[in-house]
Every structure is written in structure tokens, then in C-alpha cells.
Symmetry: D2
Subunit: 338 residues, 4 copies
Amino acid sequence: MLVVMHSHATPEQIAQVIAAIQGMSLTAHPLPGATRTAIGITGNLSAVDPNALAGLPGVLELLRVTKPYKLASREMHEADTYVRLPQTTIGPGTFTLIAGPCSVENEEMILRTADFLVSQGVRLMRAGAFKPRSSPYAFQGLAHAGLEILAKARARTGIGIVTELMDTENADAVEEAADVIQIGTRNMQNFSLLRRVARSSRPVLLKRGMSATLEEWLMAAEYVMAGNNFNVILCERGVRTFSDHSRNTLDLSVIPPVKHLSHLPILVDPSHGTGKRDYVPAMARAALAAGADGLLIEIHPEPDRALSDGAQSLDFPGFARLLESLRRLADPLGVVIN
Amino acid sequence: MLVVMHSHATPEQIAQVIAAIQGMSLTAHPLPGATRTAIGITGNLSAVDPNALAGLPGVLELLRVTKPYKLASREMHEADTYVRLPQTTIGPGTFTLIAGPCSVENEEMILRTADFLVSQGVRLMRAGAFKPRSSPYAFQGLAHAGLEILAKARARTGIGIVTELMDTENADAVEEAADVIQIGTRNMQNFSLLRRVARSSRPVLLKRGMSATLEEWLMAAEYVMAGNNFNVILCERGVRTFSDHSRNTLDLSVIPPVKHLSHLPILVDPSHGTGKRDYVPAMARAALAAGADGLLIEIHPEPDRALSDGAQSLDFPGFARLLESLRRLADPLGVVIN
Amino acid sequence: MLVVMHSHATPEQIAQVIAAIQGMSLTAHPLPGATRTAIGITGNLSAVDPNALAGLPGVLELLRVTKPYKLASREMHEADTYVRLPQTTIGPGTFTLIAGPCSVENEEMILRTADFLVSQGVRLMRAGAFKPRSSPYAFQGLAHAGLEILAKARARTGIGIVTELMDTENADAVEEAADVIQIGTRNMQNFSLLRRVARSSRPVLLKRGMSATLEEWLMAAEYVMAGNNFNVILCERGVRTFSDHSRNTLDLSVIPPVKHLSHLPILVDPSHGTGKRDYVPAMARAALAAGADGLLIEIHPEPDRALSDGAQSLDFPGFARLLESLRRLADPLGVVIN
Amino acid sequence: MLVVMHSHATPEQIAQVIAAIQGMSLTAHPLPGATRTAIGITGNLSAVDPNALAGLPGVLELLRVTKPYKLASREMHEADTYVRLPQTTIGPGTFTLIAGPCSVENEEMILRTADFLVSQGVRLMRAGAFKPRSSPYAFQGLAHAGLEILAKARARTGIGIVTELMDTENADAVEEAADVIQIGTRNMQNFSLLRRVARSSRPVLLKRGMSATLEEWLMAAEYVMAGNNFNVILCERGVRTFSDHSRNTLDLSVIPPVKHLSHLPILVDPSHGTGKRDYVPAMARAALAAGADGLLIEIHPEPDRALSDGAQSLDFPGFARLLESLRRLADPLGVVIN
């Protein structure tokens, strides 16, 4: 951390800041410049809250030098993380598709979807039994009955299940039914929930919060990893900006920095990212070309009758066409569609 | 809802949309215009998901006419809501101060703060026993020991307690210790938590999410009210934008629309809104002038030694000066500081 | 346009709005619903400012149905626009590269760059003689001397020139030197400048404003087209959001809606979009996969000595490697790199 | 500036960065820490572009310590700037109202407005002769005929004129007609225009760009001041965010940092900030309480017939009521309404 002093800061004020730093058992490195003094701080910064220094007289601002995440950081752990599942492995070199309906609506549509995905060579299915809906009056999911349907689909087809956990009460049940536990956008900083899945043996798919910076997102991953669950899969799903041409602003530009700063795999959800079926295939291909490790994508046997997110779901023929175009692109990029 | 058709939409496409609307047991009102046809929809829209219509051929976009919130809406409930507490009442005509440290650090500082607030005529104290921190390595609060300290402060001074609930596990304990249960920014759309406090007898202070639209915020309030807890207090605490001169962008301009669209009281948190002690008093006065019903504000006996949020906390003399300036302003505005 | 009335609006208020609409020589279509009345408006909306209706008693809000752009709209002009230049044609089916340094620094580096680009098969070079810099103390470009250097490069190598025009004073000179006139991000809504290039015979490359919605961007294109210059090339270069992992947030998700709503070609600038050399190639490939019609990209013979934007410029070997990877991707996508 | 090295940076990479800094005639101060080395840079940073260092091997990021603005900075110029006009003085201690219609529509409405303002004790009138409109088909202002009407209003009533300049071509004419030249939001970074008004003898009212950071805004002021025009008045008018409850997000929280970092006066435009007449008075009062030096506010004799911005314009009685409430608030705040 660097404390930047006001250009008019007095020697006494500078001395006071240095003393305060030392009082926190940290080391101060004064760095006098032409117009102002800056003071570097080294030592164990996580043990104290040096932000309090911002209130001292003569201090202009604090600049952080060290990133607060450790386990999620590539500086600490250079090798890419591969998340191994019974059905497949997620990480660089492959491009993993996780497809399925927004929510479990009934057994028939889930089995139809699972059969279709298996026929296409897709090994993981997404579908929500617990649905976070912005309206209390909207369809909230089938809950435990939905989990049972998902378990049946897995038993019958061998497909892996990715499904969302919204609260600690249902953690055991979701762990039982899911191969990957999804933490939704609105819960990215639900720290109690993160601490719970940190104790799980299941990998965690961690969606980026609606307005989360990359650092906050990696800190959320850090919560899971700090509890000894190192199998975290990041998922970009669009962030909130002024831009109104799509449901969210899909931030594909986060992929290279994620790969630079972290060793964790990253998927992209072009369905929530765009909110509009017609825009999904182009963004899916762009995600592949940008270096993502896979997709989380919504498909539905009859999108126009879906109970939720129909407008952004592909139908089966549309998904098959997308898959084919992804396969053609994968080869020159040196990755395998999975 | 209004379905806007493409200017080249065929009569068959228009007929198909009308049929789909009727298939949802809704009524379609075609509205032919010079360049395109729009189709109004009336009926019980909450029972179905008309967004699926967006995927039909020839549809350009959907425009929603009706607001999705009901209980939180002033159209449904014209009279202002007053939230009555043992210590005071929150709502128009008064300007209620809720002050205290970010977190309960120890008994001594809580009792000192409570005594100070009582001496200033302030009737409600804020302080967190459970702290949502973006880093798993940062101070996470004293938890149940913190709640006990708050209970002791209330018992000794009569001051009302506002404290945050982060998860359903601790709901009973927080309900026991708190006069008002605070739901934090990161949990505004933690729907499981909202459903839990909807069953509580305590009023709920609902902070606005980091990037929540007004509609999403009122829908979160609707979750609480739909469970029969009508005592919801909104709290604006700054939103996330590109702007980097302060920790968040305090959106005081949300106050008039809140008052227009809803009957619920609204407080402002200038401490999180600015992140910097020196900027807090001006924003506190602006909140009063803008029509807010009160403040949630951080003070600390020794801000430069605070375990969290020290940079944005006022010390006691600073708070006393602010209070005096608020009292001078309140009179010409026709409100009473409480 | 649709006028949404308050649920408590009186019949008199509804009648007053209808009368006001008719007073603007427009037609009102009342649409009574279960909870409120909406009133559709048809007629020539551009002749009046119907926003004034928002102030009438009983009006809740106005919803616009018609898009305000006409010439830029695909509804009005279904066929894709191809911008024909002496050196190449920009539009669907090809992926056009426009590469070069941020600014013209001296003759030697421009000629080196032009020679290199020609050797790579690239037909258009970008370089700024007039530079919009956020600091008055930063290098502002070589101005007319810079244009002369660009003219020399074109004369010697045949390469086409894309360069920025910042003000009407220098319009004649830039027109003389450039094959394509670039309008920068900060000038997207400099309407006097747009009206000037609308009278030019040169195509216009119109960068998206820092926080422009798609509609505002297409309206800026409309300014140029309304003056009879139909050769407009859009260029996405990153927008401003809360996100801080890159210089701007490159909004690739705007490409499908641009193609849906407009017939104009769209390029992507991954250099300004990311601000960091290492992130440029992945975003360049993603732009191709997302359906863009080309790239505007910064390269420099010695990026670490560049007078501006060095951190985001590729060196020549880096660009050659990128070009090769784009060529491999182009084939399965059915486009030709140009 | 501080160069933060990667934790794995080699001694050679550190030496290369130090050499590069010295090659720019700057001084390098290595600051070794527990996990990484940072390197402070001192010297004349404006002469070179140290951003190029970001591309060197082993560099993690650059952190700027020094602010790039000088003349606009309070560190350089501690005393508040007062902008003196023939009619009044703008600066701390007074709260100056600048009111009037969005655009000059005809002579009659301008004279009526001027007479009304004079009768209320208001000394400055705003009205646009040149209007930046997002649509080329919307009313663009009366241009020179509008300036003549404004000149007549000034001659007859003595009221001061604030009007917008959109391009250098009309600079002489606007200078002639205006007491204060307004630079609009969309032109905040039109550097050619800023350099032109920097040579003017008229004060400049500089509106904040739609998504301008405080630093960019002060740098735009620096352009004007660097040309020797020190009479710059800042004006906050709402920024662009995800928030959709108002036309823009009025950022009152920028006022304390402006006062902290700069000596320039700052006004607030609650009309564009909210876009809705009913929300204007609350935001006007909040601006006064937040420490602004005045308002730029839209009024119209018949808002519902306005050619532009009618929905956000107050009528005369509404303005008179607002003025009275501001006068009551001003006294306890220790300022004088002007």
C-alpha cells in the first residue's frame, strides 16, 4: 500500500502517518518527490485495516499495491486449474458445454432435454430447481421435486447436473443432486452461502455479480477456496451498465485478465448475457474465440412456452446448428468441444 | 404490456402473436400505426411469462406498461407508511438518525457510543455483529458475542438497535437483539433471506443493491411485504457507476421517485455513499433537503483505530456538529430531527 | 408512442391528454386496461416534441414505440451497406484490417509501418495527425505536417489512410489526406462536426461515444446520412462502465443488435477497448467470431517508445502472429481477411 | 507514478524498468516489499508518456500518484475562485440562480421570461440559440436570430445571458451576445472548442460530460485555463449510469470532492439531472445543502408547449415557490441567494 500525502503536508503530518503505520506493526518507506511525499507500506497487511490511515491529516489518498486474493491468484499458483467431474474435465484445451432449460418445469421436458444433449455429445445439463426471481409472484421453481427429476435424468442418461443453490437450508439436497453447485449472480457476495459451499465436495460454478469488479469476483472465489474447496469455475454472464441494447452487457473482455490474474477456468453464459435468442450464437462463438473454457447456455424444447427465460433460450435445432459452428471454429483455435 | 411488431411484419405474424396472447388467457388489442402495428395486452399478467412472446417471428420488442410491484406501490396504497418502533417512528415529517460504528468491536466502545448518542437525543444505534466483508481474511464481526453487547447497550440506555442479518441461521438471534433488522446491499436479492424476514415481527431496513434499479429495489420490498411484514424502510447507500471520486455514487435523486412511486420511508447512508469522512456532512444535509426520512450514519469513538470503515466514520465531535447543522436546516423544511 | 396513465387518472385527465395529442395533429388511440388506461399515438412524431405530454396531470410515463433513426435503420433499408474504397470494400463477407500507430510521430515510423502493412496484405493504415488528448500538456499530434507524412505514405505504397478529424477548421485538409475520415469517441455527438462530414465525399468511420446507447450512436450516423453521405462505418471501441480490469469495457455484444437494427458495417477497436497489448489478440479474434466486419487496431514499430498509447500497441511480430490466427479462423466463419 | 512489479519479476526485469525510467530522464526509486517490488518515479512526468512502461516484462500495473491538473487544482491555488460578472459574482457564500427556457423559441417568450426573472431578483438567464439535439430532425434552435433575441432581452432588462456555444464558427457571435459561454455536456472533451474559449474574455460554464470522471472534467477546465481564461464555472448535470428512474443520475456527491480538489465554483443543473419537473425542486434544495454555488435551471412560460425539454421545465409559479423555499434554507446554511 502507498499513502500519498498532500503537497502541503507538513513534516509533522508525515511523521504522524509513519508512526501510525508502525503502530500497526507495519514498515513505512517514505518516498519524497518533487511535489509531494508518498509513503510505501510493507508487512502483513491483511491483519489490520490500513484504510483508517485515509483519515489522518495531510493524507491525500491511499493506493493499494498488493492484490487481496491469494489462493485464486496465478501469482501464487501458476498452473491452470482443471476441474475434474465424473463426466468430463473443465479447463484449458477443452471447451465445455453446459446446456439446458432455465428451470425444471416437469419431468418430461427434462428427460427430453437430457436425451437430446446426450445425442449431441454434451455431457453436462443445467436446470434450476430453485429459481431466484425478482418478483415474489413469478414461478419460483419446483424445489425438491425438481431435484428429484434432475436425479432421475442423471440416473437414466449419465448426464452431469449443474444446478443452483440459493440458501444453506437446501445445501445438502443440492449437493446430493448436483455434480456442480451453481452460485447465482445475486448471491456472489452471499458470504454465508460461500462459506457453506466451501465445505462441499462438489465443484462450485460461481457466476459474476451484476456489478462485480474482477477483484471482487476473485475474492468471492477466495472465500470458497479458503474453506478448502479449490474446484471453482468462474462464469461471466453479463454485467450491468447504461447500455440497453441487451439484457446485460456481456463482458467478454474479462476473459484475458481472468486468465492473466488467476488459474481458475472461466465459462460464459451468452443467454443471460444477451437476453435474446437471436444474439446468443454470435456471442457463443465469440466466447470461444476469446479464450473461454466453455459455455453455460439455455435451451428449451419449446422456448415460446417456457415458464422463464423463453426469449433467450435456443430450441433444439438452433442449438445443434450452434454446436456445429463451434466445432468448426474449435479446430483452428486448438481446442476440443466437449 | 405492449408488443411492438417489426414494420415488415406480415398479417400472419400479427395473427400468430394475437393467438399466442389469447393462448395465455390474456386479451390482445391490436393498434395499427403508420409504420408498424403494436399490440396491447391486458389481463392477469403475473400468472404467465409473456416475455416468451419476444421470440415470436415479426416481434421487434416488448414494452411493459404495468409496474410489477403492488404492495410497495403508492398506486395501491396512497397513504405514507410510518414504521413505529418503541423508541420513535420513522416516516415523513421527522428525520430519524440511526448512528453508530460499522461493527461491534468490544463492549466498551458500544456502551460509550450508546451513551453519547443518548446524550445527543439520538434514539437508534447501528452496529454490526455479523459483517459481510469482501475478503475472507478481514474481520468478520463478533457474531453472537456482538449481539449480546448490543442487547446490553439497549438494556442500559434504552437505545433502539439496528443490526444486520446475513443469513437465515442467525435470524432468531438477530430478531431477539434488534429493533430493526438490516438487510445489506449484497443481500438485497437474497430471496431466501427476504422470505425469512417477511415472517418476522421486526421492521426491516432494506439497503439498495449495488446496481439495483428502483424497480428491483421495490420488488425486494415486495418480497418482504408479500409475506405480511409491511414495515419496510428503504435505505439508499450509493450505487456503482464509472465514477471514482467516491467509494460509491450516492443517488439522492432516487428520493423523489421513491416518494412518487411508493409509500415506504427512505433513509440515506452518506457514510457508505461517500466512503470519506470529510464528504459525509454535506451529503447528510443534502439528504435532508432532498426529502429523505432520515440517515444511517457511521460514527466511532476513535475512527483512526476502527477495525472497519474508519475512513468514513465521523468522530463524536464531528457528529455533534453535523447534528446541530441538521437541526438548523430542519426548521425551514418543516421536519423534526429525531 | 404510448402514454401510460396513472391508475387513478380521472376521465377528465385522460380526455385532456387525448386533446393535447390531437392539438399536436397526431392521432390518439385510447387502450383501457384492468388497472390503467394507456393511449397510443400515431402520426408524424418527428414534427413535434411529444415529451411535453409527460408533464400533464395523470400521466405516469411515456413509452416510445418507434425508433427515431430512419436512414440508418434496416427496417427502411434492408440490404447491407458496403463502403467502397479505392483499396478495398468494407462490409459483410470480408473482415477488413485497419492498422497503424496511435499518432503520426515522424516520417520514418509511418513509412516503416506502411511498408510492413503492405507486406502483410493489409490495405488500410490508421494514424492520427490531430490527437484528442485529455491533458492540454500531452503530445497533441503533428497536425498538418502529420497529414503530409500520411499523404507521402499513401503515394509511395498505395495504402489507404484513415485519420481523425477533430474540428471543422481542418476538414478540407483531412479530406484531402484521408480515404476515410475518422470521428473520435469524444466527438460522436459533436453535431457541428457531423454536419460537416455529412457534406464530404469521403466515408466516415464513426466511433461509438464513451457512454452512447446504440440508439444515440445510430442517431449520430443519421446526422451524417441525413446530409447525404451514406458511407458510414461504425466502430465499437469500448464503453465506460464500473469495470476496472481494462481501460474500457469492449462491448462486443453490440454487434448482433447493430446488424439487426441497421445495415451499416461495424468494426471493432480492441486496442482502446482493452488498453493492454496482451489482451488485444483474444479480443480481435472474438470480434471476428462475433460477426464484426473488421478491426481498427494499434501497432507500432517500437511500442515501448511510443508517444501515445504504447501500452496497447502491438509490435510488428505480434501483429503478424495475430493476422495469421485471424486467417485460420476466417475460413470456418466463411469470411475473407482483407 | 508507481510501477508495481509482478511477484515473480526477475532482478533483470526490475533493472530493465529502472533503466527505462532513467532513459526518460526521470528518477527511479525501487521499493522492495515482502511479495513484490514497486518502483517509485519522480521528475517531470508531463514531458513523457510513462504509460509505455506498462508493456515491459514483469510489470504488473502502473499507479499514478500525481494528479494531472495543475491550474484547476486547489493544491496549486488555495483560494476559492470567484467569477465576476457585470450582474453578479459566482462563488462561495452566494448561491446564484441561472434560469430560463431550454431554447430561444421566439422573442415574446424570452422577454416574458426575462421580465419574470428580474421581478424575482434573478440576475442571469439561460436559453439556447444553438441546440445540440440527438436527432437531426428535431428543432435545432434559432441560431443567430436567437442570439439577437437574447441581446434584446439583455438590453431591455439588464439580465445577464448564459448561452451555449457548439462550434468555433459561431464563437464570435456567442461571445458578443453572452455574458457566460456555456460548453455543453457532449462537448466537454471537444478540445478544439475548449482551446477557442480559452482565448475568450468571457467566463466559461463547463458542463460535466455524460460519463466524465472528476479528473477528466478538471482536465477539460485545465484546457481553458491553460489558455489563460481562468474564469471557469463547473456545472454538474447528471451522469449516465444503469439507473433508469430519472433521465440521468444527478451526482451531487461530486460537490465535496470538487471543493476539496479544486478552487473553481460549481453549479448544479437539476433539470437535466432529473428530466422530470416534479423532481426538480427537491434536487435544487439538495444542491444548495450539499454546498453547490448555484443552479442552472429550466423554466418556461408554458412548459407543456415547449419545443424542447418541456417535461423538465418549471412554470413561473413553480419556480417562484422553489425560490422562496431556497431563500428559507439559505439562511441557516450561511449563504445568500442571488
